[in-house]
């Protein structure tokens, strides 16, 4: 019994330590941002890695999420004879929740794992140590550009996801199921406000910061073994996903 209590206490303590370490890591990164912005080309390369390379999976997913939203929304709304509101419902759902959250989950899976394993492998093969020996700060040259690349990419990916998602809804709702095109767009435009778009993009930015931070943190602090890198990658996905959903609730409660 005391063993169990001790173990619980131990993991609680580990959790708190972890949170503290991540927070300190974030502060260190933020302090480095002014210096890091000068290395513009490094950031561009990471925007390419995290953003441009994720675009295909984001857009494919967005299209299908939008299409299924069109099908389900139509089936539900036509029971009340208000299938004209399909555009409104789908656009709000995509803008406020589905767009940012699904993008963040995909981003954690596609870009976050790549970041964590890349940095973890650098750690395992002593590349980070070698940089330190040469008086090159790996935080500045390796971690920060990757972090900023992710933070810049996420809102753009979110916007792309939502836009193509609305296209998917329109494809199924208007082209296939015959919702009136004028009503679809005019009702959507009447109901969707700028605040909704802003809410989606703010969520995109916050999730981008969270997912990128977790990825670079886990990679940087990975055990320098093959197993450790694997574990860091797994933890990146798990922690990013949970953090995204918790933050989503908090942000929604805050902005609604």
């Amino acid at each position: 019994m005391t063993d169990l209590a001790g173990e619980l206490l131990g993991s609680a303590r580990y959790f708190v330590e972890r949170v503290g370490a991540i927070a300190r890591f974030l502060v260190r990164l933020i302090a480095l941002i002014p210096a890091g912005l000068l290395r513009f080309r490094l950031i561009v390369a990471q925007v390419y890695n995290a953003g441009a390379l994720s675009l295909v999976i984001i857009m494919t997913s967005g299209l299908f999420v939008g299409m299924v939203l069109g099908l389900q929304g139509y089936d539900l709304l036509q029971r009340f004879g208000s299938e004209d509101s399909l555009g409104t419902g789908a656009a709000l759902a995509l803008l406020r929740e589905l767009g940012p959250v699904v993008t963040a989950l995909l981003f954690a899976g596609r870009a976050g794992t790549a970041l964590a394993s890349e940095i973890g492998l650098m750690r395992a093969t002593d590349q980070l140590t070698a940089m330190e020996m040469m008086a090159v700060d790996p935080m500045k040259y390796v971690v920060l550009p990757r972090f900023l690349g992710g933070v810049i990419s996420m809102p753009l990916l979110t916007a792309a996801f939502i836009a193509i998602g609305i296209f998917g809804v329109q494809l199924v709702g208007v082209q296939m199921l015959g919702v009136d095109q004028g009503s679809f767009w005019s009702q959507m435009r009447a109901a969707v406000e700028f605040d909704d778009v802003r809410e989606g993009l703010i969520k995109g930015v916050v999730f981008g910061i969270a997912c990128s931070l977790i990825a670079v943190f886990e990679g940087y602090h990975a055990e320098p073994t093959a197993e450790g890198v694997g574990r860091a990658t797994t933890r990146t996905v798990v922690v990013s996903a949970v953090l995204t959903l918790v933050l989503d609730y908090l942000l929604t409660a805050f902005m609604l």
Partner: protein
């Protein structure tokens, strides 16, 4: 330098695409146009009350969409709402005494304009005004009318109650 430039190019494309998506979301500009752009003509209708009619709402005859609401404005001279209808050019023989009414699609649906053909031999031309119109039905007005009529009946009923036949015997 070549691979770096390829990366720049696709990164630039990605960033531009992202901003284009944001722009699309903010403005919601898309071709909501009914496929009639080239040949179409406008009709004008004045309503006392258009309810929740929106720009882009369908104009239908017998349930078939023949055009769109092009713009909605308010005339300070007529003190009425001015609704411009754009009718597809292929529906160019609408009798010029047809009337326009604002209907609601379903109980919760959006509002649209229904044209009911008249019997005239003349047809509407571009820029014509629809003379016979029926305003949007505002649910609150209907309810209040109903309530008042019920209240009226009720007081009548109370006044009559003295002369009411006696309750049926058992």
């Amino acid at each position: 330098m070549r691979p770096s430039r390829a990366i720049d190019l696709s990164t630039g494309l990605f960033v531009l695409l992202g901003f284009a998506a944001i722009l699309f979301l903010v403005t919601q500009i898309t071709n909501r146009e009914f496929s009639l752009t080239s040949d179409s003509y406008h009709l004008q209708a004045q309503f006392e009350n258009i309810g929740g009619l929106k720009v882009g709402a369908p104009v239908s005859m017998a349930g078939v969409t023949v055009g769109r609401v092009d713009s909605i404005g308010y005339s300070m001279d007529a003190l009425k709402a001015i609704v411009m209808l754009r009718i597809d050019g292929s529906y160019n023989r609408i009798p010029n005494d047809s009337d326009a009414s604002i209907f609601t699609a379903g109980l919760l649906g959006g509002q649209y304009i229904g044209l009911t053909p008249g019997g005239s031999e003349e047809y509407y031309k571009d820029g014509d005004r629809v003379e016979f119109v029926q305003d949007a039905i505002v649910l609150e007005n209907l309810i209040s009318k109903y309530l008042f009529s019920q209240a009226g009946k009720q007081s009548e009923h109370n006044a009559d109650s003295t002369t009411e036949p006696p309750a049926p015997k058992e």
